[in-house]
Amino acid sequence: MLTPWEIVEKEMIPPAHLIKKNIASTCALFKVLLLNPGFRKRLKRQKDNKIYVRPLRKYALPEFKPGMKNLSKSEKYLRPTLYCNCRVPEITALAHQLGAFTKSGREFAEAAFEFSKRNITIEMVPLDDVSCTLIRGTGTCLQKIAVFVALCRAAGIPARFKFCALSRLDDIFAASLKNAPLIKKWFDGMGSFLLHGEGEAFIDNQWVTADISSGPQWQAAASLPITKLGESSVGLWIFPVPGSSFVRESVPLGMGNSSRILFKGLLASSLPGFNLGFLEQIEKGRKIIAAAGGEAAYDAQARRLRHPLAAKGDLLRVHSSIVFEEK
């Protein structure tokens, strides 16, 4: 049971703009559902739909042995938070397997990053704790980030969440939206995606970004370089709604219940199609990587094509001929 102190101390209160956005998206969803009753029924009845089968877990869970060290403390960014319990046996055992306490902070963070990014398959499921995510092997972007954050905290590396609302969806969700017309209608009504995130770990006296949510195949399907620890997805495939970014120790309160209502109730019939889209993207990316001659070759090629040609300072140099006036 959460105490009010805990809620405030662990930064679980969502910012005002997220609450507003939540209300607006709920209204948008109800509008879609009310205006499309027949549509919703059709979705439930459709027989020609491809069947979504959750992909198998890509890894074996290491065995937890009593006495295994866990360096999470009661300090900020090192303690368990909502849906991110860094003291569960699964996390402790995995942290050990990934080299906690034998590797340097950066090396371990990289191992945790690669594990969460590559091994947890993206799937829209109601928000639950990291232990469930690890057992299942799939999760939303928030759950994937929570695994990274929990692993870092278990190894004594402060870690936190960074959130934003997304302004553009078509690029990354194209395949999923094609399979889930009701969700597409909802997204179109909202105009943005409610909450997306990245992880951050405090290494060598600085917060280092971790773009966990998109695996290598998913990034290849969108022709993106495969991001490494320290590389942000912002500006690469994420375009946040201006002013919507915020950093928190915990996942905001209320996200769990709303995701359950949404995924198990209101959008339940659309979700398999949406998740199927993710798998299609992953398969497409797998082919692209293979055609490029492997991941390293693909990544080098994608980076060459996206390599910034000019320094930001050069591109945004003040120009004497361009005069800005107030309206």
């Binding site: 078509d170 120009h319 001929s321 006036e325």
Partner: protein, 460 residues
């Protein structure tokens, strides 16, 4: 060019294009290579190589000296104008991926970005407001005498190209001359044209705006899309109408599109009776819908030799449900009665001023190689030999206001010369695809998306 018939034909064209051609005394090597040849597709190879070397070297030097952003890139590559001695050196010119032109910031920074990728001196540009939209910034640039145009992909992210008047005129001239030369001796000012694109006066969409040139070489031009087409409208249509505003815009815009196909058919009916020469040019998607409707109604026309179809803006956009070009030509012949040899496709893009044009004989895409060097690059960005598939890139000497040395996202195959006709220059295989992982794009795709839902509704 020995053909006196062709000479008087093209001189008549050049006479009408006076405002587009700079005074001969002020011609640069790039101008000589573009405006000099009577037929851009029949320049003798040796002569063309010389022109290509001189014009591209001139253009490169111009950008190196007047564009700080590009000069820094060249310095990183250790490449300077002095390194261009032979035509082989042209292939070492540092190139810019087309994605560079869509990696722009917003608001006032967008204006600075445009200003800094521009080569040369900018006129005074006054931008109002703290957070100007892309449309407001473009409008301010264009009000100052420039011609900023855009195109975009399915992501809704636009490609912006800052052209000055001279470069924009060069692009328009190159398009019109490519068409007129390729359909020799059929062009005449008395033709009646249906431009299957947005009204050039109401858009900065490149494919629309560049179509303005047809008003100067053909007396009667009708436009299919009369509404204003802004970046905002394109964004809404490319990414789906988001929110209430998007829906309202889409609704009103859609009402006009619904009448478009019927109007084109009425125009065809009128000209079937009038016996005048007709010319349909623009997004193939629109013509395809016209044909579809006529087929459903069991109707057809027989325009024969007094007609011509030019498609532009890209079938490359239809990766999901593309109609092969040969099938499209076949449909045009069967339903409109326009012979296949008079149905030619143009391959152009917002970033380039040279367009590649189908020859009537073999439907291969011919390059205007006197000022425009097409290249096919391998995965290491090195030029491939003729006959190999790779990424299309080009060195465009006519681009004087931005560095026109660009790597595209299109997957092509180049041949040393056309296997069918006797034009001497290099050609591209007629079917252009998008490279793996590249978003679909093309001006025709924008037009298609703008109209697709409306036209579907109309049919329903």
């Amino acid at each position: 060019m020995e053909n006196t018939g062709y000479n008087s034909y093209i001189n008549k064209f050049d006479g009408l294009m006076e405002k587009y051609i700079p005074s001969k005394s002020a011609w640069t090597p790039a101008d000589e290579a573009l405006y000099g040849p009577l037929d851009l597709f029949r320049v003798p190879l040796e002569e063309a190589r010389e022109m290509q070397l001189r014009s591209i070297r001139y253009s490169f030097t111009h950008h190196y000296e007047n564009n700080k952003v590009y000069r820094n890139l060249c310095q990183k590559h250790g490449f300077a104008p002095a390194h261009i001695q032979t035509t082989a050196d042209l292939e070492k010119i540092p190139m810019v991926p087309d994605s560079f032109f869509k990696d722009y910031p917003s608001g006032r920074e967008f204006a600075l970005w445009l200003g800094n990728i521009f080569t040369g001196d900018l006129p005074r540009i006054s931008i109002k407001g703290k957070h100007p939209t892309p449309d407001e910034v473009i409008e301010a640039f264009n009000a100052a005498g420039l011609a900023v145009t855009f195109s975009s992909g399915t992501s809704g992210r636009h490609t912006f190209i800052p052209r000055d008047r001279r470069t924009f005129f060069a692009a328009e001239y190159a398009i019109a001359k490519a068409v007129v030369a390729m359909i020799y001796p059929r062009w005449d000012t008395s033709w009646h044209e249906y431009l299957l694109m947005p009204d050039p006066r109401k858009t900065c969409l490149f494919a629309g705006k560049a179509g303005a040139v047809f008003f100067d070489v053909i007396h009667d031009v009708r436009v299919a899309i009369g509404r204003e087409v802004s970046t905002e409208l394109i964004r809404m249509t490319m990414t789906g109408p988001k929110g209430m505003k998007g829906r309202i815009v889409k609704y009103f815009a859609g009402r006009k599109s619904k009448r478009m196909i019927a109007e084109i058919i009425r125009w065809l009916e009128f000209h079937e009776m009038s016996n005048e020469k007709i010319f349909l040019f623009g997004a193939p998607f629109i013509l395809s819908r016209v044909i579809e409707k006529l087929r459903k109604e069991g109707r057809s026309f027989s325009f024969g030799d007094r007609s011509w179809v030019g498609s532009a803006g890209g079938w490359k956009a239809y990766e999901g449900s593309r109609i092969p070009l040969a099938d499209f030509r076949n449909q045009v012949e069967q339903v409109l009665g326009i012979p296949e040899k008079y149905c030619l496709d143009m391959y152009a893009m917002v970033e380039s001023n040279g367009c590649m044009m189908h020859c009537p004989e073999g439907h291969y895409l011919h390059a205007p190689y006197s000022f425009f060097k097409p290249l096919v690059l391998g995965s290491d960005n090195k030029p491939l030999a003729y006959g190999e598939w790779g990424r299309f890139a080009f060195l465009d000497a006519a681009a004087l206001s931005y560095p026109g040395f660009i790597i595209s996202g299109d997957w092509v195959r180049m041949l040393e010369r056309c296997p069918v006709c006797d034009r001497p220059g290099p050609v591209l295989d007629p079917e252009i695809r998008r490279a793996a992982g590249e978003e679909t794009r093309g001006c025709a795709e924008e037009v298609r998306r703008m109209l697709a839902v409306d036209l579907k509704n109309e049919e329903d």
